[in-house]
């Protein structure tokens, strides 16, 4: 079944405590090459049959209303991943 992937990231100016905690843990593993970490969310919406323009539009609406909160998050991707 084809999937529509929606990525949601915390806005750049919003403190991301989870990302900060991960960034603090990486050097303890000896992984010192990273200046920062931001933790976002990935949603996969599966579709029976073809992804029509209407369904893609529904995914965009879902991304903007339910899947993200525009006060603190940005939708960074709404993309169809075809069947493997």
């Amino acid at each position: 079944m084809p999937r529509i992937v929606v990525d949601v990231m915390p806005k750049p100016e919003i403190l991301d405590p989870q990302g900060k905690a991960i960034a603090g843990a990486l050097p303890r593993l000896g992984l010192t090459g990273f200046a920062g970490v931001r933790q976002g969310k990935r949603f996969e919406l599966t579709v029976d049959g073809d992804v029509t323009p209407e369904i893609l539009e529904q995914a965009r609406t879902a991304a903007a209303t339910l899947l993200s909160n525009p006060v603190i998050e940005d939708v960074t991707r709404v993309e169809v991943i075809p069947e493997a």
């Binding site: 100016e13 919003i14 403190l15 405590p17 339910l66 899947l67 909160n69 006060v71 603190i72």
Partner: protein, 259 residues
């Protein structure tokens, strides 16, 4: 659905028919925890608590609504994000626009921001830990439906318990809230969660919708509250500073002609 709580000594409640005639609805979502406590608080303040179920589409002629704390829908997507789309929330949004007093406590505050009844949002506490402590607040606005029984600038000690309690909004929104006197409660002393400008609670422009993170409904009954009070020394568990929140809304509804 939710009747008056079964266990308890309500002898501290005032005997007053006008207060008793005020019906305060308390909404229960899947995952709500503090609905019974909010109902007790309304009862102890002298009003009538009415249980409301999120999937109903009828506010049952209540005069005010409390959205209590908990973890609606497990907070799995974002705190309050799914609860916002409950059928009853549409009615609450309409009633709020018509001036009905609405209070959101903790998860209820998160739901009010997701429903766009209040600006901003809540994110994880800056220290990443669940907080649980008796918290001193300052009442920054006593002209709301929910704070008129406090003196301006009064302190209050109520429990703070949450994971996503850090209030955030952009600078423009924060300036607006400050400029219009819509910061209703501010944390006193050390900021417990990194909230912008120490904000613990805010109101809408009309002052009928208020949201706050700490829990006044857990500080209403002598013996079952915080160990301290902003109104002088109290015995262990005898802090009842939160009760005036519930007295405030009953008073303002009675004064407004509801009897």
């Amino acid at each position: 659905m939710l009747s008056t709580p079964l266990i308890g000594d309500f002898s501290v409640a005032p005997e007053n028919d006008a207060l008793r005639a005020v019906r305060v609805g308390i909404i229960t979502f899947p995952g709500t925890l503090d609905d019974r406590d909010a109902a007790r608080a309304v009862t102890i303040a002298g009003g009538t608590a009415v249980g409301l179920w999120h999937a109903e589409a009828n506010l049952q002629s209540v005069d005010a609504v409390i959205i209590p704390g908990g973890f609606s829908y497990g907070d799995y997507l974002r705190a309050g994000a799914i609860a916002r789309f409950a059928p009853l929330m549409e009615k609450v949004v309409d009633a709020a626009a018509g001036g009905m007093p609405v209070l959101g406590i903790c998860n209820g505050f998160q739901i009010l921001t997701e429903a766009h009844l209040l600006p901003g949002s809540m994110i994880k506490n800056n220290h990443l830990k669940f907080s649980c402590a008796d918290q001193l607040l300052r009442v920054e606005n006593n002209s709301t439906a929910w704070t008129n029984a406090y003196e301006l600038g009064a302190g209050m000690v109520v429990p703070l318990k949450n994971q996503d309690g850090q209030y955030v909004a952009d600078e423009k929104t924060l300036d607006e809230l400050e400029g219009e006197g819509r910061v209703v409660f501010r944390y006193e002393g050390e900021n417990p969660n990194g909230s912008r400008r120490g904000i613990a609670g805010i109101s809408n422009a009309a002052r009928n919708v208020v949201g706050l993170m700490p829990h006044p409904e857990h500080a209403v009954e002598p013996g079952f509250g915080p160990d301290s009070s902003a109104y002088g020394e109290v015995g262990l568990g005898y802090g009842t500073d939160g009760l005036r929140i519930f007295s405030s809304v009953l008073n303002s509804l009675v004064a407004g002609g509801k009897s």
